[in-house]
Amino acid sequence: MAADKMILLDCYVSMFGMRVRIALAEKGIRYHYKEENLANKSQLLLQMNPVHKKVPVLIHNGKPISESLIIVQYIDELWHDKNPLMPSDPYQRAQARFWGDYIDKKIYDPGRRIWTTKGQEQEKAKKEFIEILKILEGELGDKPYYGGEEFGYVDVALVPFYSWFYAFEICGNFKIETDCPKLIAWAKRCMERETVAKSIGDPHRIYDFVVLMKKRLGIE
């Protein structure tokens, strides 16, 4: 596949984009990274993802694939021999897809409300957020990764959110480790993996982004 042309339309701070970066790194795929300004979307983005106009979009030999977990599965299926991310057993695969879907549906919104709201609304968001993390912590159990002994699909789906924890904690004035120590331990374990460490955003830069966004949105 030496002739493959891979372009990733992404945003440094996007947890969804980070998933794709990790998957590409796991497979050792070289690609051209293009940072999008979501306040001024490129023609290429609008053309490649006209339905949602969102990042990430992977463009493989001119053909676009959108939606982060769909992209991750696509990459995993094409480069199935190297560091497989999905389990091979159908029941385990169903569990992996279920939890990927759960992460997609549940985390983003309360997380966002932690930094965009104050007072009672923020307290409610924090509570919801921790409840969801506790469910995820329960699913992890005593396994080193969601994939079991090996880093896998669900780990890829979840670990990018860890880069936003610092920003959530500062904005919400709480420490996630207090309620979810096992989850934090899992995240740190994932961070020891080079592909993860180099793919996910720096928490301080993400916090700076949040501060900027709060100013723009007029939130104290």
């Binding site: 694939i65 939606e67 769909i70 599965q73 696509y74 159908p90 695969r93 897809r97 279920f98 879907d101």
Partner: protein
């Protein structure tokens, strides 16, 4: 592979449940249908899907699988000797998954939005979203099922056919309740034909609800939702 013990917890009104039934039918798998009563959740459901507490739940050899599209993919992978449901090409698979996700995240909520909208503006926006979605899928049908094939999946029903076709009952109910046509021979000629073929397929015809029965159910449901809370 022997059919072993296959159960499906569901309800005749749920398009998501229908997805699982169509997939099981395509693979000729015999299963026990455990019907949930409207307005209450069985012990088995709560035990099998503690996270979402929703139907459908497939129980295969006592192991639960939840989320309709996860179930369809599971059925395809376990009973691999039957006709394939997912496309074989990875890019085609990604596209089929993309549209299935679009239908779940944007399109069907808009269908529900038409019925639930409290203001005219919201209702109009929902209607527009539904029309836009059908325009996208009309275009996708032409692109993907080239050479005059019957279904998104080609000669036979595939993943996107199942993901989309399951909503036809509720789409027709919405058309009747709002006195409008969404699927029509002029604006969406390919989808119009596709819908007829889909509903006539052996794997679908016994599980697609009768539109009038579904309409009656919808009226009762809406009345309950709109009723003042005690």
């Amino acid at each position: 592979m022997a059919n072993n013990d296959v159960k499906l917890i569901g309800a005749w009104t749920s398009p998501y449940v229908m997805r699982a039934q169509i997939a099981l039918n395509l693979k000729s798998i015999k299963y026990e249908f455990l019907a949930e009563k409207t307005g209450s959740k069985s012990e088995l459901l709560l035990k099998s899907n503690p996270v979402h507490k929703k139907i459908p739940v497939l129980i295969h050899d006592d192991k639960p699988i939840c989320e309709s599209l996860v179930i369809v993919q599971y059925i395809d992978e376990v009973w691999s000797s039957g006709p394939s449901i997912l496309p074989s090409d990875p890019y085609d698979r990604a596209i089929a998954r993309f549209w299935a996700a679009y239908l779940d995240d944007k399109w069907f909520p808009a269908i529900k939005g038409i019925g639930m909208a409290k203001e005219e503006e919201a209702r109009k926006a929902a209607i527009e979203q539904v029309r836009q979605g059908l325009a996208y899928l009309e275009e996708e049908f032409v692109k993907s099922s080239s050479k005059g094939k019957d279904f998104f999946g080609g000669d036979k029903i595939g993943y996107l056919d199942i993901a989309f076709g399951c909503f036809l009952g509720w789409l027709r109910v919405t058309e009747k309740m709002n006195n409008m046509k969404f699927l029509d021979e002029i604006k969406t000629p390919n989808l119009f034909k596709w819908a007829e073929k889909f509903c006539a397929d052996d794997s679908v015809k016994d599980v697609m609800p009768d539109t009038d029965k579904l309409l009656e159910f919808a009226k009762i449901l809406i009345a309950k939702i709109r009723a003042p809370q005690n």
